[in-house]
């Protein structure tokens, strides 16, 4: 099904348009230019962005790769030497790094899944007409618009604090003395803060997905006497699959890299150190450039493997569109 978002500008469900047939120059049967000159003219608009991205994101990585073969601790400037794979041996024997891989996976999976489910529920609730809908939506979106480090500070000091935090303060109204949330449930409190911040993001994407459902089919289903649940599982969910996948993909991209919340709320303590935090620590606390680079390289390779799988999702979408 090649349904697409209905937009004011481009009505009509058929988004799978081939490249323009009436291109000004000769093209091959697939619509691509045949002469080298024409191909370069096509590439020209792309090049600035591509070159810029390669320089700023790929060159540093080449440097990282090179440094990872050196024994390079900034505290010992006289002892910088080529050591082959020593740093990699350390990476693979480092229990802390293994643990932080595990923490990163847990953190990402929990936050993405919970925000997705919550986001879908909230999107469904918001996709109705009711009094004050605009205000309710604004209130739900707001957490996404709070600066992450501000949100982390807010949760650490004003919400979770066992003495004067909002959470225990409200519990005290009911005569309950709450626990010290951060030290009792360190990873959970970080997850909750991130879920609070990312659910609105998921909601936004899914809401647009819901609004793009073809109304005629929904009406037909309603006329046919389908129950709400049947409509949901048979029509809404299949339609929403791509929106869910892409919300998950975008969410995961940002949450895997989360640094602010871990850094602010627990300083990486109590088993909450994730990969970005661990590498940061090797880099800036230990000043061990060699080891940190090796950690970085290993993580990059691992992310590329995972990303290839993740990108298959995207690839499916692009192919759908590119298919003729």
């Amino acid at each position: 099904m090649t349904t697409a978002v209905q937009s004011d500008n481009a009505p009509g469900p058929d988004q799978a348009q081939p490249p323009p047939q009436a291109a000004p120059t000769a093209t091959d049967p697939e619509g691509y230019p045949q002469t080298a000159k024409e191909r370069w003219i096509r590439r020209a608009p792309l090049l600035p962005a591509l070159v810029f991205t390669i320089i700023v994101t790929q060159l540093p990585f080449v440097a990282t790769l090179a440094i990872s073969f050196f024994n390079w601790n900034a505290f010992r400037p006289d002892d910088r030497r080529f050591v082959w794979f020593d740093n990699y041996v350390n990476v693979f024997t480092d229990a802390d790094l293994r643990k932080s891989v595990f923490t990163t996976v847990i953190l990402t999976v929990v936050v993405v899944l919970v925000s997705l489910v919550l986001g879908l529920g909230i999107a469904l609730l918001l996709n109705r007409t009711f009094f004050g809908r605009g205000l309710a939506r604004t209130m739900i979106i707001a957490p996404f618009l709070i600066v992450p480090v501000a949100a982390a500070l807010l949760f650490k000091h004003a919400i979770y604090n066992s003495t004067f935090g909002l959470l225990n303060g409200v519990l005290r109204w009911f005569g309950i003395e709450g626990p010290d949330w951060i030290s009792q449930f360190p990873l959970t409190v970080i997850e909750v803060q991130l879920i609070w911040q990312w659910t609105p993001f998921m909601t936004l994407i899914l809401l647009a997905g819901l609004q793009s459902r073809p109304t005629d089919i929904l009406e037909a289903a309603s006329v046919d006497g389908a129950t709400g649940w049947q409509t949901f599982t048979n029509l809404t969910l299949p339609h929403m699959r791509r929106y869910l996948e892409l919300a998950a993909l975008l969410g995961a991209i940002y949450i895997v890299q989360n640094f602010d919340a871990v850094f602010t709320i627990t300083s990486g303590g109590l088993g909450t150190a994730n990969l970005p935090y661990t590498i940061y620590q090797t880099l800036f606390t230990a000043q061990n450039y060699g080891l940190a680079s090796a950690q970085g390289v290993v993580v990059v390779i691992a992310s590329l493997i995972i990303a290839t799988f993740a990108l298959r999702t995207v690839s499916g979408l692009l192919k759908d569109e590119g298919a003729k």
Binding site: Y32, T64, A142, P148, V149, W196, L204, E219, Q295
Partner: protein, 296 residues
């Protein structure tokens, strides 16, 4: 319908299927109540932050929430340096500058790139998209150290222009991704008409495409602005005295000087305000932009 999930899921679909102003069932009323409760839960931490920011430090650190404590702007006065502390203006200006300029550059680079990936696509355009997106999946922290060393060598440490370059690279993939989908959304007839008119590339861009994609540009710009404004990891490593950005400035507010809660809440409120205002003003575009960007 027995479970809560069912009610929650079912109500809206029927509601959408029903024209506005149609029958309102008990179920709808229930769903509306649930929506408001959820909305309140999500907004509560922010409301609490704003309320606390107007309290005295003493009221802010009581054991039970002081909803009706007298209001004061002491926290804001302290944040703006009334007690001799550093003024937040340089940091706010740096953040605004870095976020706005990097967003403009991102848009300027992303539109032509997106054009070459959708309207007149290059061969293997989907591979190029993969490449852009994959740069977002690499842990940024892995590139941090070489970037720091480079910045030191070329004397660009603590320079806001360097941050602008970093933020441009950081947001470019997402922007290209979003812009590409907006462009792919434009009916091809329009381009054909334009080319028949003999309009050049620039003319086509300006006269035909720009008006149609401007909502898309706006929402892409908003997303880039938000991410650039929010960034902290690179800023804390690469900036210092001159180019310090707001998130970094914020962390310096957690002092060991006893009570600081009201002041931190005031600081967090002020620093989030630009994003909040922009986001609230453009939330419809945000919904559209994110989803279009995501799904095409």
């Amino acid at each position: 319908m027995t479970t809560a999930v069912q009610t929650a899921a079912a109500a809206p679909t029927t509601a959408t299927a029903t024209p506005p102003g149609g029958k309102k069932s008990n179920l709808g009323w229930l769903a509306t109540t649930a929506t408001w409760i959820i909305a309140f839960i999500f907004a509560a931490p922010i409301l609490w932050m704003v309320l606390t920011s107007f309290h005295s430090e003493n009221d802010a650190t009581q054991r039970t929430p002081q909803l009706f404590a007298p209001l004061t702007v002491e926290g804001y006065r302290n944040f703006f340096g009334a007690d001799g502390g550093a003024s937040p203006w340089p940091a706010l200006i740096n953040s605004a500058w870095a976020a706005i300029v990097s967003t403009l550059v991102v848009i300027a680079l992303a539109i032509p790139a997106a054009y070459a990936l959708s309207v007149r696509p290059v061969r293997k355009w989907s591979d190029v998209m993969f490449f852009f997106l994959s740069t977002k999946m690499l842990p940024a922290v892995a590139g941090l150290m070489p970037i720091y060393l480079i910045a030191t060598r070329i004397h660009m440490l603590d320079n806001i222009w360097f941050m602008i370059i970093i933020y441009t690279a950081m947001n470019l993939p997402i922007a290209i991704w979003m812009m590409r989908s907006f462009l792919a959304d434009i009916p091809r007839d329009l381009f054909e008409a334009a080319s028949l008119d003999g309009a050049g590339l620039l003319q086509t861009l300006r006269k035909v495409i720009a008006p149609i994609v401007s909502p898309g540009i706006a929402s892409t710009a908003l997303i880039c602005f938000i991410f650039a404004w929010n960034e902290m990891l690179f800023a804390r490593v690469l900036t210092g005295v001159v180019a310090e950005t707001s998130p970094v400035f914020l962390t310096s507010f957690v002092t060991s000087q006893g009570q600081f809660l009201a002041q931190v809440c005031a600081a967090a409120t002020v620093i989030s305000l630009p994003v909040l205002i922009a986001g609230f003003a453009a939330q419809d575009k945000l919904v559209q932009g994110l989803s279009l960007g995501a799904v095409k």
